[in-house]
Amino acid sequence: MHQSEMSGHNALRWAVLAGLAFLAVSAWGQQPSTKDGEWPAYTGDIKGTRYSPLDQINASNFNQLEVAWRFKTDSLGTRPEYKLEGTPLMVKGVIYTTAGTRRSVVALDAKTGELMWVYSLREGTRAAIAPRQLSGRGVSYWTDGKGDDRVIFVTTGYRLIALNAHTGQPINGFGKSGMIDLKEGMVTGTGQQIDLETGEAGLHATPLVVKDTVIVGSSFKEGMTVVSHNNTKGLVRAFDARNGKLLWTFNTIPRPGEFGNDTWENGSWATNGNTGVWTQMTVDEDLGLVYLPVESPTSDFYGGERPGNNLFGESLVCVDLKTGKRKWHFQIVHHPIWDYDLSSAPILADITVGGKAIKAVALPSKEAFLYVFDRVTGEPVWPIEERAVPQSDVPGEKTAATQPFPTKPPAYARNYLNVPDDLIDFTPEMRAQAKDAVARYKTGPMFLPPVLGDAKGYLGALDLGNASGGTNWPGSAYDPETHTVYAQAHQSALFPLSLRTPPEGFSDIRYVMGRNDAKFQLAEGPGFGSAADAPQRRPAPPPPAATPAAPQAAVGALTVQGLSIVKPPYAVISAINLDRGELQWQVPYGETPDSVRNHPALKGMNIPNTGQPGSVGLIVTKTLVVLGDSQNTTTPSHPRGAMLRAYDKATGKEVGAVYMPAPQSGSPMTYMVDGKQYIVVAVSGGAYSGEYIAYSLPSAN
């Protein structure tokens, strides 16, 4: 029937039917999106944007925000958690997230914060010895559009679990009684299955759910003082969201016959591990391409046991969504020995460069470079040059001759220590003291390799922006309307790199972190041994020695009169336009720490906002960039606490701030229910245990 021939009645009926059909399609087949006020994935969508078009909360009213609800997480485990890092989802009026030292999953009423259900699994030793413990980053959501709605997450002990989103009960028919043992298939060496109870593997990132596929990464203990280079091998796997069936596996350490195996010289692929994907992955559902940000191989700072470039260590890898086959890759750091793990969700951005439309992927990084590629071909959008870098003199280590440097956009934060220009300069005396302090270290450009530190020589190589600098796991945000990336970056994270031989019997690696002339210090990873099920395998500490250990604060301290030897701003927020590859604006992040503001030597001086150190996540809305302080402050305008701040996304001007009782410890999110917009943020630290706080405008607004 031609449309013009329809009667009014028929036209209405067709319109209604078409509308219903559209609704059905949009509910069933639509990509996760924030456009209807939901926040259905960890980064808002599965493109890594953390963008919401909501604008009820804006510059004119941000200061009026009040606490709508709060959810304290102390009881979700055997002890309170002080490192709550989750970002909740909000789907159909319900908040879903992880919380507490047992990494429980909770469902909360999005309007009130009322607990609707809670799920947790008591995993015992398996969780107690797991890497990446505590509450994790949150959950993922899957729906068939017909009422089968699932919450999917990874337990502390590395199990993938699918829960009924309405009841919190495991889904029968998914894996075994709703769960999949992710340790099955994890191997060391040339393929030796790890022990399901004690084998090392875990994950605190959220799974990537796309269509009917759940994609899961892997991670391991921190790599500073590891006991073997032959650690568990990283991999990425895809499972069927309906039944949990394994669909494909991508080996991040390629096996013989697989592309990249020859970058592990002397057959070292067989005797090395790690190289997992511990952060968020993203996917282009239309193109059927998945983007994997891969971390470092074992160990973080010595690569003598693995000569070669070590693909796909510290590489962005694009694989086919259906098969897991590699489409392209780009290695950000060759032969990684700086802990430049790819830390952030790659961002999918449709940009226009020189009049040409490009489907791009932009990777924020600890290096504070935004690496931008054509996401179909892997070609850099702007040239990325291989430049000569300093070489290692550590026996057995063979550093790569060159490393990639993007020509555009410019670095959005400091990524090496430029002496003396980057040293503290509040007063000439402080500058002089800082120069003396760094003289104990080897300094130089980016990619300064670790040294064998010694009190008689250099205490270490002084790198900045590697291990905990630049943009870390909280990632960045992207505004698809203006093609702008918003990134918070820590630019005062000095990291002295010194290696030593491990104590007899401790490790099969030739060198671990430390100094041969200092006491060996085991370095544990974040949250290790602090889950609900600890105590764990670690034996009781030896009886105290007769002679107390001498405090070592004075040796090589990287502070001057209690202040960082790096000059402010300590961290920055940047807006980076991806059509032009340029910085649009940059402002200090947060506000001046108490230690600077109250410093006796700086009394009476007018010191502009120094910002504060730390890595935090942010969101971008129709008009605002929103993120919270990483540190507590006590100022004339507020008692001890931290502020959740809003910046005009066009200019970087701070346009509002609201009080939080503790620093932001998880990335924020925003949603709208029944006409009201909320912003939720995880806070914790210091005396304050983990809490999710939801802010909204007073009802009168």
Binding site: A523, P548, S595
Partner: protein, 141 residues
Amino acid sequence: MLRTVIAVLFAACVCAQTSRSVWDGVYTSEQAKRGATRYAADCASCHGSALNGGESAPPLTGGEFFSNWNGLTVGDLFDRIRVSMPADNPGRLTREQDADILAFMLSMNQFPEGKTELDHRTEVLKQIRFEATKTGDGKQN
């Protein structure tokens, strides 16, 4: 008027309860020495031998540490240790051992030593204000 009186009384009460601060010599050097040994065995692997923190744990000295505890009490800090530390087995240490470690932390943060040991009762330690800077009145600005 009544409100003012109550406010003054309340202020006086708070003042009386927390008349001491970390600047008043609230631990002994012997206690800090014991705490140093205990710290090396139970805390240093995460918080660093110089209390400067690590990837896994925050520093227990310097600006960030001070800003977390400024305006609270030593008892609050003590309880935080009791509740959550050592991370792999909270509560494994005795109150006396926790107090020793706390004494060591105070000494490493340049707070003066005194003639009396730091108590091991939370309610007593809550009487000692944690002040980042020595102001005498607990105010920061």
